[in-house]
């Protein structure tokens, strides 16, 4: 972000978003994301005749390096003229890279990286912002997984005493019912306000199927992950 001259991730997304200096070249952002300074970057260009991806011979190789506090991309064409050059990543629109990045067909970071489609927006799994997490739902999921874990222990005789397992299941059952009530409440509010959200539907589904034995443990685990993590560009 510092290299691009911005302070927030939203500003970075704006650079690559519609109307931005590097509009639509999401694969390049992903390459920036994956690369360390000095990691070799391979680029294949689409010359309009359809991409002939020769994995042993990219059209250009280069690397990111730091010079005078700025991030540079330094690259060489290896199958055209042999010429090359460097440019400051933050000034990418100032170089004639518009055609270059526009024509880029595939990026690869390192020799083992995935082939990156330059026009595809890549997402990363991240923790949701604290205010977006349904903490009551997450707490109920964790507690009911814990209760299920105890009764699994009893079933497998890790813990002796069937009464302990029955008690744990009983607690888990109560927690599941609270979860169902909580989800119905949220969905009810959504319907009343005419603002039904995808999250309301998911949490309702998770909590009702959470009542089924065994299956419910898995559903609670997925519900927890879905609640706490999100896919973001």
């Amino acid at each position: 972000m510092q290299y691009l001259g911005v302070t927030t991730w939203d500003e970075v997304l704006a650079i690559f978003g519609e109307g931005g200096a590097m509009a639509g070249i999401w694969g390049y952002l992903e390459a920036l994301h994956q690369a360390q300074l000095g990691t070799p970057i391979s680029v294949w260009f689409d010359d309009g005749a359809g991409l002939q991806l020769n994995i042993h011979q990219p059209n250009m190789i280069g690397l990111f390096c730091e010079m005078n506090g700025e991030l540079m991309f330094s690259g060489t064409f290896i199958d055209w003229s042999g010429s090359g050059g460097s440019w400051v990543v933050g000034d990418i629109d100032a170089v004639n890279a518009s055609w270059m990045l526009g024509a880029a067909a595939v990026f690869q970071v390192g020799s083992l990286g995935n082939y990156l489609d330059p026009h595809q927006q890549y997402s990363h799994l991240k923790f949701e912002d604290a205010e977006d997490i349904d903490w009551v739902g997450a707490g109920l999921d964790i507690a009911s997984i814990a209760a299920d874990a105890v009764s699994f222990g009893v079933g497998g005789r890790v813990i002796k005493g069937v009464a302990v397992g029955a008690k744990a299941q009983d607690i888990g059952r109560v927690l599941n019912w609270i979860d169902v009530g909580h989800s119905f409440g949220d969905a009810g509010q959504g319907i009343a306000s005419g603002n039904l959200s995808v999250d309301d539907g998911k949490s309702l589904g998770y909590s009702v199927l959470g009542l089924v034995p065994i299956v419910g443990t898995g559903v609670s685990a997925v519900s927890l992950l879905d609640n706490v993590l999100e896919l973001e560009p």
Binding site: Q169, K202, L209, V212
Partner: protein, 97 residues
């Protein structure tokens, strides 16, 4: 991104259908219940909690109890599936201009 949003619903639909089939199988064939299996011991503990049965170390359920458990699993899954499908329909309708 829209496809990603639908993934949890797809997961719920698959899990719901599996639970529905499992419940129906237990309901129809109570002999499937095996007190030696860790998974069915879970069903036992779950049954004990739902129906206030006295728990013991045998982890065994009578056939009529297995049928009852299977029926309940079937009903919960069917209800869950109905809600999920209803929600998908509602969301689709809301998405239209």
């Amino acid at each position: 991104m829209k496809q990603l949003l639908i993934m949890p619903f797809l997961f719920l639909l698959i899990v719901g259908v599996l639970a529905l089939i499992w419940g129906r199988l237990l309901w129809r064939f109570p002999s499937l219940y095996n007190p030696e299996s860790i998974l069915y011991r879970q069903v036992y503990l779950w049954y004990v909690a739902w129906f206030r049965k006295e728990a013991d170390e045998s982890f065994s359920l009578r056939d009529d109890e297995v049928v009852k458990a299977g029926r309940l699993i079937f009903v919960i899954s069917a209800f869950g599936l109905l809600l999920i499908i209803l929600f998908i329909v509602l969301l689709e309708q809301n998405a239209q201009p």
